[in-house]
């Protein structure tokens, strides 16, 4: 037993020395055991964020030890949030993946505490919300689909990878709102929850759900294979590359931007020095070609926001999502 304790201390000591030798605190990304918590089961978007960024950090030598990815699924991130705010508030080893989906939960008061309980590090990219149908669907444009909903809100079976009131559902409701559908009718929509975009789309191919609202990245392969049609992307402008021919919702007259950004937070009592070091490390990942490549492959648009700017962005977004959820009647 003495040996283990010794081994750990030795390792920590050596890392400490290494940090001293470099004499630039900014180059030591985090503590000796860098850990990224993915608040989902393996395979999901948060898991992907942690694993990709963790891999790049090691490749770019931002960290000395491999980044350990821990999966802490539960209540769409609330379990991880509770764990970090409760027990690991000042742990400078730790950064946690999150996204707009997590913020929606905070906005709807489903997390223990508000956004100010943690420190928001940075966002590195954003996934784009899309409305999907089968290639042989009766709907050719967003207008077709929203008209059908307008004339009979129960006539289309919709689904996605979030539960009722979650971000996939909320984006769809936003579109419907822009199409002039009354709030009372929004409640009548038929929404089926799936465990992810992939399962939702395969169920759509089987004809069990007609329209799917979800993020592009996970299901990009189906679009490229020509099995499904994207009615519209909820991005500010058209996407690049093979998705350039897909019209945005905005250009079809429904001004909704539904980006699911990917980023990280850390404990609320992490010191400024460590916070800045983490942001700097993430910036190096963001600037690398490896991240550009990974983002391109998975349909993310690289977008960088960090530090105070990112914290303001998060706070604004939560306010916005909260008032929307109240308006639609998801929370009181």
């Amino acid at each position: 037993m003495k040996i283990t304790a010794g081994r750990r201390e030795l390792a920590a000591g050596m890392l400490g020395l290494a940090g001293l030798a470099l004499a630039r605190p900014a180059s030591a990304f985090v503590g000796p055991r860098p850990e990224c918590i993915a608040p989902s089961a393996p395979g999901g978007g948060w898991d992907f964020t942690c694993r990709t960024v963790g891999r790049l950090m090691q490749e770019l030598k931002v960290v000395e030890q491999p980044v350990q990815v821990s999966n802490m699924p539960g209540a769409v991130g609330a379990v991880a949030y509770a764990n970090v705010t409760g027990r690991r508030n000042s742990d400078n080893n730790l950064f946690v993946a999150t996204s707009t989906v997590g913020l929606t939960q905070i906005a709807q008061r489903r997390y223990p505490g508000d956004v100010d309980r943690v420190r928001w590090l940075a966002m590195l990219g954003a996934d784009t919300g899309v409305i999907l149908v089968r290639a042989d669907s009766r709907f050719k444009t967003l207008g077709d689909f929203l008209d059908a909903l307008k004339s009979d809100p129960t006539s289309v079976v919709t689904g996605g990878s979030s539960s009722l009131g979650g971000y996939d559902h909320l984006r769809l409701l936003l579109l419907a709102q822009k199409a002039g559908i009354a709030s009372a009718d929004l409640k009548k929509f038929r929404w089926i929850h799936y465990d992810g975009g992939g399962p939702a789309v395969t169920q759509m191919l089987g004809g069990h759900v007609e329209v799917v609202s979800t993020d592009l990245a996970e299901i990009a392969g189906f679009v490229e294979a020509g099995q499904i049609r994207v009615l519209g992307t909820m991005s500010e402008a058209r996407l690049a590359g093979s998705f350039a021919n897909i019209p945005t919702a905005r250009e079809q007259g429904f001004d909704v931007v539904g980006l699911n950004w990917r980023g990280f937070y850390t404990g609320g009592r992490v010191s400024d020095e460590h916070y800045n070091a983490m942001v700097a490390g993430l910036k190096r990942v963001y600037d690398s070609d490896g991240w550009k490549e990974a983002a391109r492959r998975s349909g993310l648009q690289p977008i960088w926001r960090s530090g105070p700017e990112f914290e303001r962005f998060v706070a604004n977004m939560v306010t916005e999502l909260r008032s929307l959820s109240q308006e639609i009647g998801i929370i009181s």
Binding site: R51, P66, V79, W191, P199, T202, G206, G207, A225
Partner: protein, 503 residues
């Protein structure tokens, strides 16, 4: 694309010395990890990922490492089931029913050998299926919608009743209690926490590992204390295999169970657990002529083992071709693939054929390595039972605590495990079987979700459940199963009544 040349290329990749070595390491580590209760492929993969990166393995080699760990832990999972009556993972629950009685009779080595052989059979058959049918099967699986899944789960729950022996009312109680425990946690469809009483530890539901280890391992300990009341407990005789390997293969059983397991494995979400006990139930219906199942019938070990490994292979079909994980473990593999810049999905077979066929070939190779590795290990594992019980049993309790602790690292889970241990002890005393409880927990959530999805799509119209030929067919099979069970039961009652009158 022709299968034969592609596969030949795949074998050329898999047979490279580096990849063979990687497969061997993966199989060995997987077996050991699978043997520890509560520690599963997740941990195995987590341990080996840094290794894969630090050795700078190519994507194919890394994939081979992962799949061999995956298969290896499927092989290893039943070791604790057979020797200690603790299911190491959810698909090994059913193996306890006949595996542990076999070990108690001194046939532990036989049972382990049977499980290795039939696992090999199931795994290989599934790999053949994967090779030949993958793309077309994946497209067939999408016809399974919420209604069809619901029908499948109803059938599964009904079949649970047929697995256990004893009072059918108590079997049903056990299954229902399992479903009830499964409703604890956040409701995935609406995000509302149910039966959590504000405890965040319960939000994700009660982990299967906690319930299974508590119910089986801790209650076993309490039962053991009590058994000493009726005199010293006999040490289980540990032998070598009592019969030749040839006589421990059950080709007909393995074939039936493998086919069923593969089909179930291909359906995303149904998974190896469902396959293992459907395989067992099928075998019990077909072969249990002398009422030996549940008392250490070797076919009761062979069937779930073959089915469960076949399903593990089958669940790779939706993962590779649709990018939809068929089980928890394939979800991890999916995450790994993405990290390695391999994007599973409809285009994978066209875009990255080297990787796919290398992987398929590696599956064949891993299966063979596992068989070769496991047969000699059987004797060593069985030796575990020769440790005196007053050392062995506390050791098992320690490992059980660790298995549970590794899930979430908190003492709340440990307390729950002890609670379930006491609960399991009471159930056993009341002769309420434990296996249906565990299966109820596993099947509860998917069953509820498929029902809710079907009804959400129809706007609450219940008839939708029967408005699909496939679902209707499944319900019809369920009805036939129930009818046969009722008929048999009443015939048995009449027979018994006649016997008492005659006596």
């Amino acid at each position: 694309m022709d299968i034969i040349p592609s596969l030949a290329n795949g074998f050329a990749v898999a047979a490279q010395p580096m990849n063979l070595l990687v497969a061997f390491i993966g199989c060995f580590v997987g077996t050991v990890i699978g043997a520890l209760p509560g520690i599963g492929p997740v941990n195995g993969i987590a341990i080996l990922i840094p290794l894969a990166f630090s050795l700078d393995l190519s994507p194919v080699s890394a994939l081979i490492l992962l799949t061999s760990v995956y298969y290896g832990s499927m092989f290893g999972g039943r070791i604790a089931s057979i020797l200690l009556n603790i299911p190491g993972d959810s698909s090994a629950v059913v193996t306890c029913i006949d595996g542990f009685p076999m070990a108690k009779k001194g046939r532990a080595a036989d049972a382990l050998a049977i499980s290795a052989i039939s696992s090999f059979f199931g795994g290989t058959l599934a790999t053949v299926g994967l090779t030949v049918l993958a793309p077309s099967l994946a497209m067939a699986a999408i016809h399974f919608g919420p209604r069809e899944y619901f029908a499948l789960y109803v059938m599964a729950i009904i079949i649970v009743g047929g697995i256990a022996t004893g009072n059918p009312a108590k079997t049903l109680v056990a299954g229902l209690l399992g479903l009830v425990i499964g409703t604890v946690g956040i409701d995935p469809a609406t995000g509302i926490p149910r039966f959590t009483f504000g405890a965040y530890e319960l939000y994700e539901g009660i982990d299967f590992v906690i319930v299974a280890i508590g119910l089986f391992a801790i209650s076993e300990f309490l039962i053991y204390i009590e058994q000493r009341r009726t005199g010293p407990v006999e040490q289980v005789p540990v032998g070598r295999r009592t019969t030749a390997l040839r006589r421990l293969t059950y080709p007909a059983t393995s074939l039936r169970a493998s086919l069923l397991g593969f089909v179930i494995g291909v359906l995303p979400g149904a998974g190896a657990t469902l396959a293992s006990f459907m395989g067992y139930a099928l075998e019990k219906r077909v072969s249990d002529k002398e009422n030996t199942f549940g008392k250490g019938d070797p076919r009761g070990v062979a069937a779930p083992e073959a089915a469960d490994n076949a399903a593990a292979g089958g669940s790779l079909v939706p993962m590779l071709t649709l990018g939809v994980p068929g089980s928890g473990t394939t979800a991890i593999m999916l995450g790994m693939l993405v990290t390695l810049n391999v994007q599973p999905g409809p285009l994978l077979f066209q875009q990255q054929p080297d990787i796919v066929w290398g992987l398929v070939a590696a599956l064949y190779v891993s299966n063979i390595i596992l068989l070769i590795l496991n047969i000699p290990l059987v004797g060593i594992f069985a030796k575990l039972l020769s440790v005196p019980p007053h050392y062995l049993m506390p050791g098992v309790v320690t490992v059980s605590f660790l298995g549970v602790y590794s899930v979430n690292q908190n003492s709340f889970d440990l307390l729950m495990m002890v609670g379930f241990g006491v609960f399991g002890y009471l159930l056993r005393k009341m002769s309420i079987p434990l296996v249906p409880v565990v299966l109820g927990i596993i099947l509860g959530t998917p069953m509820e979700q498929s029902l809710r999805r079907a009804l959400a799509a129809s706007g609450g119209d219940v008839w939708t459940l029967f408005q699909s030929p496939l679902a209707l067919g499944l319900h019809a099979v369920t009805a036939i199963i129930v009818a046969i069970a009722i008929l048999r039961e009443s015939r048995r009652r009449i027979g018994e009544a006649a016997a008492t009158r005659g006596a």
